[in-house]
């Protein structure tokens, strides 16, 4: 599975990690919805460290869309909201 960390590039994460990452992603999603900045930063950092730990960086000249896109570690809740809200309601 290809994961992009905004501002850092893409990594290839083994499919076996998917469940663990999904759990972390759900926590992050709840933090965004709940509007809790501390919780948001904590869960984002947890998710990003896990991705970096298990992921293998993709070569620069490889062009593939990502299955998962994650904000950079220093992103604020407001920035992520703006990102998600850019296109109105996300299809799917």
């Amino acid at each position: 599975m290809i994961v992009r960390i905004l501002g850092e590039g893409q990594v290839d994460v083994p499919d076996g990690e998917l469940d663990a990452l999904n759990t972390l992603d759900d926590t992050l999603q709840r933090a965004v919805e709940g509007g809790n900045e501390d919780e948001f930063t904590q869960s984002l950092v947890a998710l990003l460290s896990r991705v970096r730990e298990v992921g293998r960086p993709l070569p620069d000249d490889e062009i593939v869309p990502s299955d998962l896109v994650l904000p950079s570690a220093d992103a604020s809740l407001a920035e992520v909201r703006e990102l998600l809200g850019e296109e109105g309601l996300i299809p799917g």
Binding site: L47, D60, I63, P65, V69, I90
Partner: protein, 261 residues
């Protein structure tokens, strides 16, 4: 659905939109390639802008450091002369200079981080743009219309995601640079106003603390001269006493130094 997947969908939706608008999907490839080259130029310019701002900050930090050092020296000089009021004033200004300095250091670190990120992003984009050009020609030459459609979709999704990411990194770097420039302007004004005593200012322009210190030392020089003159007045014993005292202290000095060791 998790947030990461939602963000991934935004990028895909954008790529699809571009494809939907095109009559011939292959045209999208050429158009996208043009856009990639434009973005690459912008990113390179962005890296240069951030570097320029960083260098400006570094110059200001040096100026502030020089001011702080000079004020420290003035405070010491004032204490030596028994002028606590002047020393206090110098120390207060030094604290203000140090505060500015530490703020600038924080900003400098942030800017440096943005510069590094943007440099990496520009390298990544360069590699992807090169790869895209190759792939674009392959797609155009080799595949059937149906196959081309799928390949074009993949290439477009991948590259537009990268471009979106790089675009955001650019925006962040530009915002940081703009903030920094506003800040640098304020520090320049502060230095120009003399509130921090710009130690880098041309010679001759003196701050009030220095003026008082200079006045004091020239004042005490006058007192010394006066005392010396007074001592020389009664021609006879007094001058020889001064001379004898001078010789004696010169002779005892090395001994005193030996003792200290």
């Amino acid at each position: 659905m998790g947030m990461g997947s939602r963000l991934a969908l935004i990028f895909k939706a954008k790529a699809n939109k571009a494809l939907d608008r095109a009559e011939d999907p292959r045209e999208v490839l050429d158009y996208s390639y043009e856009k990639q080259l434009e973005l690459l130029t912008k990113v390179r310019r962005g890296v240069a802008d951030v570097a320029t701002s960083r260098k400006r900050l570094e110059i200001q930090m040096q100026q502030l450091q020089a001011s702080a050092d000079k004020l420290q020296g003035q405070a010491q000089q004032a204490v030596g002369a028994g002028r606590d009021d002047l020393a206090r004033e110098a120390l207060t200004r030094r604290a203000a200079a140090n505060q500015q300095l530490s703020d600038l250091q924080t900003q400098h670190a942030q800017l440096q981080a943005e510069e590094e990120k943007l440099t990496l992003a520009s390298q990544r984009l360069q590699a992807k743009v090169d790869a895209f050009r190759t792939r674009k020609e392959t797609i155009k030459a080799t595949y059937t219309a149906a196959e081309a459609q799928t390949k074009i979709g993949e290439a477009m999704s991948g590259i537009s995601e990268e471009m979106g990411d790089v675009g955001m990194a650019m925006q962040r770097a530009e915002d940081k640079t703009a903030q920094m420039q506003a800040r640098a302007g304020a520090v320049d004004e502060l230095l120009a106003s003399g509130a921090l005593d710009d130690a880098s200012s041309p010679l001759g322009k003196q701050d009030d603390i220095q003026r008082e210190l200079d006045a004091m030392s020239s004042g005490s020089n006058v007192e010394l001269e006066l005392a010396k003159l007074k001592g020389e007045l009664p021609a006879g014993q007094a001058p020889s006493a001064i001379e004898a005292g001078g010789t004696q202290s010169a002779a005892t000095e090395p001994a005193a130094q030996e003792e200290q060791k």
